[in-house]
């Protein structure tokens, strides 16, 4: 595929460009052609590919789980129900292990985060050229198939979780208690500006690290897939070697996508547990 492009740099850039819809500087609405145009559209533009794939995968997840939930019997579980129960039990165990308060939101939240992030990550296993190529046949200029390689997606998740952290911190500790937690430790009270800076950075680091970890891992993984895909344009020998490399990296990537989804879920639970915990 790489041979269709003028240079490998162009190929990589093309693969890392989202399909962005927004207002052009001249006032017309349409898809951006290239990174500069997308940047010029400013904030009020939308990455159509990220939205479509993430919503599609989320709907897929909820559809199958809802189907299993509707047919859930207390008898011997079979097929889909067995699989869904396996995941639900796993999430339930993780939440019980890390979250020591009572909140009916946390377990479903953890389930959604884990399965959804896993599915979005799993898009990475589809060979990098297949879907963009199919889209180009349909006249779509850009297509980035892995939603979690779009920082908008990972930040969308982590900022929502950040809002929940703030909400439960205020609800459980009260505004005074929350402020005290930020201002009166770890150093003595008279050093409270220093405390505030330290704890404030710590608090803000939570959503940033959460989303950047996932984004970074998936972006790097995708980049390596793209670099491997470049080899397919370099003759039979290089192409065969690229095939082996791609297979090996995909196998390794199965571990990474699962691990990243798990880490994202576990940290979400831990952060919410910290938000609930009272400091004494």
């Amino acid at each position: 595929m790489a041979s269709e492009y003028h240079s490998s740099g162009e190929y990589i850039k093309h693969h890392l460009q989202n399909l962005t819809y927004g207002q052009h500087p001249d006032g017309t609405w349409g898809f951006a052609h290239g990174a500069e145009e997308a940047a010029q559209m400013g904030f009020w533009a939308i990455n159509v590919d990220s939205m479509l794939f993430s919503i599609g995968l989320g709907v897929l997840f909820l559809f199958f789980f809802r189907m299993a939930a509707k047919k859930a019997t207390t008898g011997v579980p079979a097929g889909l129900q067995n699989f869904v129960e396996w995941i639900v039990e796993f999430i339930h165990g993780s939440v019980r292990g890390s979250f020591s308060h009572h909140n009916p939101l946390v377990a479903p939240l953890a389930l959604t985060v884990f399965v959804w992030v896993f599915l979005m990550n799993a898009m990475d296993l589809i060979p990098v050229d297949w879907l963009p190529w199919a889209a180009s046949l349909a006249g779509v200029p850009y297509l980035k198939v892995v939603p979690t390689t779009d920082p908008n997606v990972t930040f969308g998740l982590s900022l929502s979780i950040f809002v929940l952290i703030i909400y439960y911190s205020l609800k459980m500790k009260g505004p005074g208690g929350f402020f005290a937690e930020l201002a009166f430790q770890p150093f003595p009270k008279w050093l409270f500006p220093l405390n505030l800076v330290l704890e404030g950075v710590g608090l803000l680091a939570k959503p940033v690290s959460l989303s950047l970890r996932l984004f970074g891992n998936m972006y790097a993984g995708e980049m390596i897939f793209i670099l491997i895909a470049l080899m397919f344009g370099g003759g039979w020998l290089l192409a065969a070697f690229g095939g082996v490399l791609q297979w090996a990296w995909a196998v390794f990537h199965i571990l990474i996508i699962t691990l990243q989804a798990f880490i994202f879920m576990t940290l979400t639970i831990v952060y919410l547990d910290m938000a609930h915990a009272e400091h004494h």
């Binding site: 927004g22 940047a39 869904v84 377990a107 479903p108 969308g156 998740l157 929502s160």
Partner: protein
């Protein structure tokens, strides 16, 4: 890496998915899991109870069997005793009957022999008288010597 409204779209999508999961997915599955857990626990408890009851029943059956055996042995012993008694009674009754019949037969024999002897005596007396009559016909008057003949008859 430029931020745009996708951020907001993702947040809304995420919130919707979490709400849906919390409302329609998690509770029914958790419910089924909890109910099944309880059913399994109940089943195990029932199995334990059943085992216990089985042990009790086996013990009771053993006791009953032992009692029945003892009763049967007693009945048999009693029956044997009774049989021996019946045999004894029958034996003694037979003996008595035999003795009685023997005695009757002996009495009969004695009676018969007495009667025969009486008849014989009558005939011998008649024969003797007839002989004497023949001898003494001429010289002895039958009427005068009747006392003597009667005395002789009595002595025979």
């Amino acid at each position: 890496m430029n931020f745009n409204a996708t951020l907001i779209g993702q947040s809304i999508t995420f919130i919707f998915f979490v709400w849906f999961c919390m409302k329609f997915v998690w509770p029914p599955i958790m419910n089924a899991l909890e109910t099944r857990k309880k059913q399994i626990a109940d089943g195990l408890a029932a199995a334990d109870r059943g085992k216990h009851e089985l042990e009790l029943a086996a013990k009771m059956a053993g006791d009953n069997l032992r009692d029945a055996k003892a009763q049967a042995a007693e009945v048999i012993a009693r029956a044997e005793k009774r049989a021996a008694e019946i045999i004894e009674e029958a034996k003694s009754a037979a003996k008595d009957e035999g003795e009685r019949q023997l005695a009757a037969a002996q009495a009969n024999i004695v009676q018969e022999s007495n009667r025969a002897r009486e008849a014989l005596r009558e005939q011998v007396a008649a024969l003797a008288v007839a002989g004497a009559e023949k001898i003494l016909r001429r010289e002895v008057n039958a009427q005068t010597h009747a006392d003597l003949l009667g005395q002789l008859k009595a002595e025979l």
